[in-house]
């Protein structure tokens, strides 16, 4: 049996093969790498909160400062105070994990509500929501966060609140676009003429069956953004403060030794950031290609 679906104006064939069989190797590699990174992040978070670390991340060893990687006992070497890099990198996840989830949750919940209002109701609520979206898009995010920091206090949860709220327009326009597409296909009209209650149409037919994949993808991208934002703010000195490790403040602390040619203490966390962000981005893109049937690479 062959089903047809319309994606961005073109009729494409959807065979009944499961999606991993018809997927390209590149997408599978992207998703695979992304899942490895997500697993590592979750595992690190668990290890960190259970205190199962190779070393105490705050243990200062003045005998062994700036040790290179693969030093016995310190797999990834030590930083400028002789603290174990690996342990600090693992614990550093905690700076992002819950705040990042909070930011993603805020953007998904508000974005979905706004998107449904704009797409399903249309009319005046659409105008208002488009206006709000343009308004939020007008601010450079980092400047808005600095304003909030200046007005309130540098707290990671305030920062993530702003990150989440500024991501609402992205999610809202995504959901709205989906609904408009379904409306164009007379999908919703058919639902209404069947006499289904509005809650069933919106929750089950629109959100669950048609927006699920897009929202998951948006969540991974949002997580990447939250990490990058926390890193930037840590670098600027507004994020997590020493001695509590976060990847951003580790890069910044290590940077003082950069000009002496000692790259490692700042490069290790920078690479951790790089591979993690890359993982979330590739996961989002790979899932986009697999689940939404888009192929642009």
């Amino acid at each position: 049996m062959i089903r047809y679906t319309q994606i961005s104006g073109e009729i494409t064939e959807l065979s009944d093969l499961p999606f991993w069989k018809k997927a390209g190797a590149v997408d599978l590699a992207y998703v695979g790498y992304g899942l490895v990174i997500v697993t590592l992040v979750v595992a690190s978070y668990c290890l960190g909160s259970l205190n199962l670390l190779p070393h105490n991340p705050d243990d200062i060893d003045l005998e062994l400062m700036m040790a290179p990687p693969l030093t016995p006992g310190h797999l990834l070497g030590t930083d400028f105070m002789g603290r174990d890099m690996l342990s600090r990198l693992i614990v550093g996840i905690q700076a992002y994990f819950l705040p990042g989830l909070l930011a993603v949750l805020i953007s998904l919940v508000f974005g979905t509500v706004f998107g449904v209002l704009a797409g399903y109701r249309g009319g005046r609520s659409d105008t208002v929501i488009t206006y709000i979206n343009n308004l939020v898009d007008s601010f450079p995010r980092l400047v808005l966060i600095l304003l909030v920091i200046a007005a309130f206090k540098p707290d990671i949860y305030y920062i993530m609140l702003v990150v989440g709220l500024t991501n609402v327009p992205v999610v809202a326009s995504l959901v709205k676009g989906k609904i408009l597409f379904l409306k164009q296909k007379n999908f919703i009209e058919a639902d209404i003429s069947l006499g289904l209650p509005t809650s069933t149409i919106i929750l089950q037919h629109i959100l669950w069956h048609n927006c699920r994949a897009a929202l998951i993808i948006q969540a991974t991208l949002g997580m990447a953004e939250a990490i990058l934002m926390e890193t930037s703010l840590s670098y600027l000195g507004f994020g997590v403060q020493e001695p509590t490790p976060s990847w951003g403040n580790m890069v910044q602390a290590g940077a003082n030794y950069f000009m002496q040619g000692k790259f490692w203490p700042s490069t290790a966390p920078a690479l951790a950031i790089l591979f993690t962000i890359l993982g979330f981005h590739l996961l989002g893109d790979g899932l986009n290609n697999l689940l939404e049937g888009k192929r642009d690479a």
Binding site: S138, V143, L147, G248, V251, G261, L278
Partner: protein, 321 residues
């Protein structure tokens, strides 16, 4: 240009200007709300440890002639701003607007320069992979763009400073905005512009968008017709496949590049708006950062104004909608 080509642009320009004004009003309101909700009100500092009841506070406001209700406070603040009075910095006491304008030009150079770098990297890769599809050359380039976009921009800045300034001595480290040889001032600017252009985290997204748009246009019937009759495909595809997507990307990426500028200015000691915003956030100098936020929003809105003008200039029918 014929009059018939100018009319739709003028139509859209007036409409967009009205929308922009309305949006900037909203921007000022958001900034006001943040400041209104913040705990550090000058009156609470004045009254610290004395009269702490809300009634006494309101009484003092009234006695000093400051408006009490939030809407009248907003209106008087807005009226001040419209006459160019953004207040003065808490730290230096200098008027905010002239201070922000003094450094704003540096940020403008940095932002526009790095936008050009971003596009100079993204456009060829996007065009190549749109026309040729995924092959042995375009796939590594795409992968490279992903890696570049995931790189923390400040670390890239350190690497570049270390190699180009410290090791090779190609570029001076101290930025000659005051003193120094003014003739070589542009040389100091190259590194930060390059770092922000490469590392602002938008390259992979820009490439994907431009490639998808170009590939979509290349599949259109009119391109096939052009090819069949031997006309230049490039000439036919340029407007819809490149010009419109590029202006769209410029407009939507300006906020990200301005955000990245905050960090790059910090790394390179670039005396711009971002550094000023950072300093202001450190000192909790909110009048300054408020001025910067509003000015940045003006810049962003200008970008989308440009986008709609280009869109209508290319496709005059859009003005009728």
């Amino acid at each position: 240009m014929k009059l018939s080509a100018i009319r739709p642009i003028a139509l859209v320009l007036t409409r967009e200007l009205a929308i922009t004004g309305f949006l900037l009003l909203g921007v000022s309101f958001v900034v006001f709300i943040i400041l209104y909700l913040s705990p550090g009100d000058p009156f609470s500092v004045l009254l610290e440890g004395q009269l702490s009841t809300g009634e006494a506070r309101a009484g003092l406001r009234e006695a000093l002639g400051a408006p009490t209700a939030w809407y009248s406070r907003y209106l008087s603040w807005l009226a001040n701003m419209l006459t160019g009075n953004f207040g003065s910095s808490i730290r230096t006491g200098l008027p905010v607007l002239s201070e922000v304008f003094r450094v704003g030009f540096n940020t403008l150079i940095l932002t526009i320069g790095s936008l050009i770098i971003t596009l100079a990297i993204a456009v060829p890769i996007a065009l190549y992979s749109a026309v040729r599809g995924t092959n042995r050359i375009s796939w590594p380039l795409t992968m490279f763009s992903y890696v570049i976009s995931a790189l923390p921009v400040f670390w890239l800045g350190y690497i570049v400073i270390y190699f180009f300034t410290h090791k090779l001595g190609l570029f001076p480290l101290a930025f000659g905005f005051s003193g120094g040889d003014q003739k070589y001032r542009w040389l100091y600017m190259l590194l930060p512009i390059f770092v922000l252009g490469v590392g602002n985290g938008t390259i992979s997204e820009v490439i994907r968008f431009l490639r998808a748009e170009m590939a979509r246009v290349m599949a259109e019937d009119y391109i096939r017709t052009a090819r069949a009759k031997g006309a230049s495909v490039w000439k036919h595809a340029f407007k819809e496949g490149l010009l419109i997507p590029v202006t769209e990307m410029i407009a939507s990426k300006i906020p990200f590049i301005l955000g990245g500028a905050v960090i790059v200015e910090q790394v390179f000691n670039w005396p711009g708006m971002g550094r000023m915003a950072w300093q202001a956030a450190q000192d909790r100098d909110y009048p300054v950062i408020m001025g910067i936020a509003i000015l940045a929003a003006v810049l962003v809105r200008m970008g989308s104004l440009l986008q709609s003008v280009v869109y209508v200039a290319v496709n005059p029918r859009a003005a009728e909608e």
